[in-house]
């Protein structure tokens, strides 16, 4: 059948193939194509090469390893050497491949004609136009040019600045809507230093997050997920086995809150106040740490204004909850408060809380030698925009993925200002709203095609190198800038001594070598950095002290502004500030908590919905999460959106995801939900609004049928108390047949390997990195909204979310979340029903699916208790050049074929072949399926069940009480076991 590589894409492959030849020493010279007829020793067909680089999807700056086959990067994985990612990356990181191969990327330079249409022009013509415009502007006077971009790392940002100088301008803005300003401002106020603290969640016993969705988008999600999983693993504290206490203060539960013990539903914007109230409790209980070096009474006075009662009224959080949080925080041996949102006050409150309890320097650490601020302060950005609005700017260059038209606060009126600018040049990969407003569009390299370096934190120097030849005839952004600087700037040309971006980075690293490794040579240092993906050093913690000034001032946390209802915007875990929305994987993977795909929505508590006259009236024949449309009137205009009724949001609050609502960002982002940035004022993510039901209907689609587990043994939980006592939980539906035979068939002997997996549900946060990794590794098709509504999502592994029933709330987790993939049953019910042996068992215990033999009776799926098989209702499609991402090791399935997870059998075979050729035994941990590899929480362990020392068996043995298999009554004998998630009984 179809092997997935159409002739056409094969030619493309062959064309790009030679590229890989040059990549190791990736000089510009490497642009020439080496045909396969002259085999290149660097490229062995069929054998992947790996290149270390860095991720550019969010400021966390994870290190990456790119898997390259025949010159095409086909998979991204975390860089084990990198202290931030430590080998895992999130779904967004996985999906940046789709940014690289985005079918809507700009192929050639374009110029906007008088009639507003775009016309393709040649590169030299485009650069000429660009440079002429710049020159003209420079002629006109100083500061007639403005540059707004996203930070590209210290070196390239320096280049940008120099280039702008060369044209006599200083109007430079590196723009992030989800910025660092509140954190830096608060740090400045509290500790007199404007750098970002580093959190060590695994050092804490109590974590209270004040609106910081640290498992979704806040700060460095991969790192925090890993730490949090560690924190939630039961460990000996104060002489007993305990579970870390965690509380999440926010109006919406979110997947961060789902993993905590307490969801403290506070009114949006009052998180800071709650933090102060907690501080108040801590202080009054005298839980202030002796050595925190703050004057107890000063703190007392400071916190006095925030007694639990007043705050309780303001925030809607019960008093005893506040007291409980205070007790948790104050009495903990190591606690940390995480501030979130855009309000500096929240950060200050949290910092003080951490400081007075002596956790600064322990769970919250400032490092010496933190890198300089990459993001420009909002007020400076505002001055630039002011200038633009005042017509003091002739040329605006927007570059490097910044999308100010989409993401700037409405009050700034950027879009309007931009209209008055005679010439706007846009330089990026995928055209967005800003590009739509530009006069000249220059296609520049995607991050994975260009040289960069990153400085996410002190001691971490990431090096981003191109991992493949450009997919399109684009150019590196800074090559264009340097060239134009050299052309235009005449005398000041010397200001940029480098030929191109790679030179610039290379030079920067020569200096770095001088600083970090004086005894090494430049070249060795450089090669080593390229091999490792950067240089990683331990950074010294800085001694900081809470300033007394901050205690003198009076905090005014922004309460939710007026309005019968409050709109609370939250960054979508996959779209972040909106840049993820043009990637089909991220659109198709359901948001873990709402389980909604391909859309924007408004979450409402049933009570709120009832007030608006909306009932749950979904057509049960379709997979809808909501259909009624409300109009939400905000100060900045109305929003129309469909309602998703859920108990996971505070009554009176409308929670909406940030990141959708693109008017121009490619086919996948088009026409989905609303862009909340256009409604949110600066410095807050909540808004007082009115809402009314409209007669319109819009289907919110989810692959999730019922959110109710119906007491079946699918995702199980047990209380930490039972774990300590050693009580084995009762399993629903398990037949009790002690003393009578009940095994129908002789068990098969598995000599050799027997593959198995264990998933720790307690660690899983639902981040869906595994799902994205599976899409990338296994060539899984993307079906689109309408087909998902028909139950045709293709994901082999899905993150399932069940909402506990009312009677379970007192004794159970806030949500049941776990990844579910093929369970590789020994008595696989799917196998004997297949008429053609397409589904049968391998000698290594895998439930194999032979695609070429499958005739599509779909009987196997009928008999699968876990419903993890997927059928190709249509032939899957990958709009070019997305097809270049396909993994050549995995068959692309045609229409009418059933497909499923086989523990990434291609990885297993590869490893086995390698072991055989190297004439050795497989090493445990040598084979890692994509999902296990991606998981930042290390929740998934894979291994050989016939190897007594395998990690998987060890993990099961270490967690005997928590180990279970799904749906035991079916007696399918799954080879995937789960470890029960743990919860703390509510008093």
């Amino acid at each position: 059948m179809s092997d997935g590589l159409s002739r056409r894409s094969f030619l493309k492959l062959a064309a790009t193939a030679g590229a890989a030849a040059a990549i190791p020493g990736c000089e510009p010279a490497a642009r020439k194509i080496i045909p396969y007829v002259v085999p290149d020793e660097n490229v062995i067909p069929g054998v992947p090469t790996f290149y270390a680089t860095t991720c550019s999807e969010c400021p966390a700056g994870c290190g990456l390893v790119a898997r390259v086959r025949e010159g095409r990067v086909i998979k991204l994985e975390g860089n084990p050497a990198d202290p931030i990612s430590q080998g895992s990356i999130c779904a967004r990181g996985q999906a940046s491949l789709q940014g690289l191969y985005n079918p809507d990327r700009l192929g050639k330079p374009h110029k906007r004609a008088e009639d507003g249409s775009l016309q393709e022009i040649a590169w030299d013509q485009a650069t000429k136009e660009f440079n002429d415009r710049l020159a003209a502007a420079a002629e006109a006077g100083k500061d007639r040019i403005a540059f707004i971009g996203a930070s590209q790392g210290p070196t390239l940002d320096k280049v940008t600045a120099l280039w702008l100088q060369a044209y006599g301008s200083a109007r430079l803005a590196f723009w992030e809507r989800i910025g660092e300003e509140p954190a830096r401002a608060a740090a400045d106020a509290c500790f007199g230093r404007r750098d970002l603290p580093l959190y060590k969640l695994d050092q804490a016993e109590t974590i209270i997050s004040f609106g910081a969705d640290f498992l979704e988008t806040w700060g460095s999600p991969v790192e925090y997920t890993r730490q949090y999983a560690d924190f939630r693993t039961p460990r000996m504290r104060k002489g007993g086995l305990t579970l870390g206490k965690a509380a999440y203060v926010s109006a919406r539960l979110g997947s961060t809150g789902a993993r905590c013990d307490e969801w403290v539903a506070a009114n949006p914007g009052t998180e800071g106040a709650v933090a102060m109230a907690v501080l108040n409790v801590v202080v009054n209980q005298g839980w202030i740490s002796r050595d925190s070096g703050v004057a107890a009474d000063a703190v007392k006075n400071f916190a006095a204004a925030y007694d639990p009662h007043t705050v309780s009224e303001q925030s809607g959080v019960p008093v005893d909850t506040i007291n409980k949080l205070g007790a948790w925080f104050g009495q903990a041996d190591g606690a940390v408060a995480l501030p979130g949102g855009d309000d500096p006050q929240t950060y200050i409150a949290a910092y003080i809380l951490n400081a007075v309890t002596g956790n600064v320097g322990r769970t919250m650490v400032f490092l010496d030698g933190s890198p300089a601020e990459a993001v420009t302060r909002p007020d400076q950005v505002k001055t630039v925009i002011q200038a633009i609005r005042d017509g003091q700017v002739d040329v605006v260059v927007v570059a490097g993925g910044a999308n100010p038209v989409y993401s700037m606060p409405p009050a700034w009126g950027f879009a309007a200002a931009l209209k008055r600018v005679p010439f706007v040049a846009w330089m990026g990969d995928a055209p967005d709203e800003t590009a739509a407003a530009a006069h000249l569009l220059l296609p520049v390299h995607h991050a994975l095609e260009s040289w960069r370096d990153t400085a996410p934190r002190a001691g971490v120097y990431g090096l981003g190198q191109p991992v493949m030849q450009p997919v399109f005839p684009s150019r590196a952004l800074h090559d264009v800038l340097i060239e134009s600087a050299h052309l235009g700037a005449g005398a000041s040309a010397q200001s940029i001594p480098w030929e191109n971006a790679s030179d610039a980075v290379n030079a920067a690293w020569q200096d770095l070598q001088g600083k970090l490794a004086p005894d090494s040579t430049g070249q060795a240092f450089w090669d080593d950095a390229r091999r490792k993906g950067g240089v990683f050093r331990e950074a010294k913690p800085a001694a900081v002290k809470l300033g007394s000034a901050v205690l003198a001032q009076k905090l005014q946390p922004k309460a939710a502004s007026s309005g019968p209802l409050t709109l609370a915007a939250f960054p979508h875990i996959f779209f972040y500030d909106g840049r993820g929305a043009n990637k089909s994987w991220l659109q198709e993977i359901p948001e873990p908590v709402s389980q909604i795909v391909w859309d924007g929505w408004a979450e409402m508590h049933p009570d709120t919905a009832a007030q608006l006259g909306i009932k749950e009236s979904y057509e049960s024949t379709r997979l809808y999460a909501g259909i009624d449309v409300v109009q939400i009137d905000t100060p900045n205009g109305p929003i129309e959106t469909a309602v998703h009724i859920t108990s996971l949001v505070k009554p009176g609050v409308i929670a909406m995801p940030i990141g959708q609502g693109h008017s121009s960002y490619g086919r996948y982002a088009a026409g989905r939900g609303a862009n909340l940035w256009a409604y949110l004022p600066e410095g807050t993510r909540s808004l007082g609004v009115q809402a009314r039901k409209t007669e319109k209907r819009h289907q919110l689609v989810t692959p999730m049928g019922k959110g109710d587990m119906m007491g079946r043994s699918i995702i199980e939980a047990m209380s930490i108390g039972d774990l300590v006592k050693g009580v084995v939980p009762e399993v629903e539906g398990e037949p009790h047949l002690e003393g009578v035979p009940h095994e129908m068939y002789e068990p098969f002997k598995y000599t050799g390997h027997k593959w198995g997996m264990t998933v720790d549900v307690n660690s899983c946060t639902g981040c869906s990195a595994c799902v994205a990794a599976c899409y990338a590794e296994n060539n899984i098709g993307v079906e689109g909204k309408d087909n998902v509504a028909l139950g045709r999502i293709m994901s082999w592994i899905r993150v399932e979310r069940f909402i506990p029933r009312a009677d379970e709330e007192s004794h159970g987790p806030l949500l049941y979340i776990a990844p579910i993939m093929c369970q590789q049953c020994d008595h696989a019910p799917c196998e004997p029903v297949c008429p053609v042996f397409a589904s049968s068992h391998t000698s290594e215990g895998l439930n194999a699916q032979i695609y070429n033999r499958c005739i599509g009776t779909r009987f196997c799926e009928n008999n699968c208790p876990y419903k993890v098989r997927r059928f190709n209702w249509y032939a899957p499609e990958w709009p070019e050049p997305l097809n270049l991402q396909l993994n050549p090791d995995v068959t692309v399935r045609g229409a009418g074929v059933m497909e499923k997870c086989t523990f990434c059998i291609q990885r297993i075979t590869t490893a086995e072949i390698n072991a055989r050729t190297e004439n050795r035994n497989l090493v445990d941990g040598e084979i890692i399926p994509a999902c296990a590899q991606a998981c930042p929480a290390r929740a998934i362990t894979f291994g050989d069940l016939n190897d007594p020392n395998s990690a998987v068996l060890k993990r099961r043995a270490d967690n005997k009480l928590r180990n279970y298999t799904m749906l035991p009554e079916n007696n399918a004998l799954p080879q995937v076991t789960y470890l029960r998630t743990l919860y703390r009984e509510k008093a």
Binding site: P735, V740, H742, H827, P829, N971
Partner: protein, 404 residues
């Protein structure tokens, strides 16, 4: 008589009879009483010896066994009326109804199940979750099953009375012209047939299935009353063979095809029985739910039960199927008789392995206790059957108008 082969052949298969023998009812009577006596003594002794478990379990086995034969016999007669079968005159009707008198007795003997309930129903000693005790609780169970037994006994009595009445007999003997059987029977026959299916499914679920509460099989009720029906068929075949021998030349049972018809009945329903059994076995084998498989595994694949477990299908299907396939053997009294006796043993064994392993999965209790209790029941059954059999004898006697 059968549409498609010459009757001559049947005659060929049947050996000529000796001089007429007078049926010695008295001897049969005394034998029956003796058996009954053995039964009673054994019962007392066993209870004395603290063998209550075995006594009451065997009690249940025998009650179901003989009750089944008696009731299914009546239903057989109903079936004849429903298909308006008149190929052998009134004799088949009389024979089918001959055991019915055991039914009223069964209502009485059912008390034994009540007395021995703690030894029979595990869910009494090991209580089930509340949501299941709604159905499985002592008062309700005995009330409904007792009532069912009583109703069936009364209806059967009514039916048999009507069926032995003159119009019915006249109708059964007038094969040539086309008219309906008497109205009473026209109405009673379907009612009894339908009630039989429902009540005997009920007994199957209550008195057999509930002995292993985790287990269930939706077909079980159907399968059970089909088994009863077959047991009645073999009982009739057996009696027919005996009568043919005893009643002397020219009796109704010497008619060329009557044995053939009984043979076909036994053969057909034996095949139907194995079909229903296989339908259950295959589904459970394939479905692989422990809660279902253990029931079969204990009885068929594990010591000590597997020999007895396999004996039942052998006697109920393998033997009749292979032996009775040919017309000749269907018509040869000795062969048919032997098959029938084996069949009767097979059905008893079947009930035994249905009931007892549920209560002692790992050891096989069989000995004098079981034999005595069974003997007692057999005696009682024969005593109940005697009047009916006498009527058959008179109807089938040479020259009686019962013949064709």
């Amino acid at each position: 008589m059968s549409a498609n082969q010459p009757a001559s052949l049947g005659a060929a298969a049947v050996r000529p009879l000796r001089a007429p023998v007078q049926v010695n009812w008295q001897r049969l009577n005394t034998i029956a009483i003796a058996l009954l006596a053995i039964g009673l003594i054994g019962l007392v002794a066993a209870l004395g010896a603290g063998q209550a478990d075995r006594v009451w379990q065997t009690w249940l086995v025998n009650l179901l066994y003989f009750m089944g034969i008696a009731q299914a016999g009546v239903v057989c007669s109903c079936a004849f009326y429903l298909v308006q079968g008149r190929w052998a005159g009134s004799v088949p009707y009389r024979l089918a109804e001959s055991f019915w008198l055991f039914l009223p007795l069964a209502v009485v003997l059912f008390a034994g199940v009540f007395i021995g309930r703690d030894h029979i129903f595990p869910w009494i000693t090991h209580p089930l979750p509340p949501n299941r005790t709604v159905w499985l609780n002592v008062p309700f169970l005995f009330a409904r099953d007792g009532a069912a037994l009583l109703i069936m006994a009364l209806l059967s009595a009514w039916f048999v009375g009507a069926s032995r009445g003159p119009d019915a007999v006249r109708w059964t003997n007038s094969a040539s012209d086309i008219e309906m059987p008497p109205p009473a029977l026209r109405r009673l026959a379907p009612i009894i047939a339908i009630l039989y299916c429902f009540t005997y499914s009920l007994f199957a679920f209550d008195l057999v299935m509930s002995l292993s509460p985790q287990w269930h099989s939706t077909l079980f009720g159907w399968w059970f009353f089909a088994t009863c029906f077959w047991s009645a068929a073999v009982a009739m075949a057996f009696s027919a063979v005996q009568f043919r021998r005893l009643l002397g030349p020219g009796n109704a049972f010497t008619a060329p095809t009557i044995l053939h018809d009984y043979g076909k009945l036994v053969f057909a329903f034996s095949v139907f029985w194995i079909y229903l059994s296989f339908a259950q076995y295959l589904v459970i084998w394939y479905g692989d739910f422990p809660a279902e498989t253990f029931f079969l595994l204990v009885r068929l694949w594990h010591a000590p039960w597997s020999p007895l477990g396999w004996l039942a299908p052998i006697l109920i299907w393998v033997v009749p199927f292979t032996v009775l396939m040919s017309v000749r053997s269907k018509k040869t009294p000795r062969i048919l008789g032997t098959v029938a006796v084996l069949g009767l043993i097979g059905v008893w064994d079947l009930y035994y392995i249905l009931i007892v392993p549920a209560l002692s999965p790992n050891k096989l209790p069989f000995g004098w206790v079981e034999l005595c209790v069974t003997a007692g029941f057999l005696g009682a059954f024969i005593l109940c059957a005697l009047p009916g059999l006498r009527i058959v004898a008179s109807a089938a006697a040479p020259g009686a108008d019962g013949g064709e």
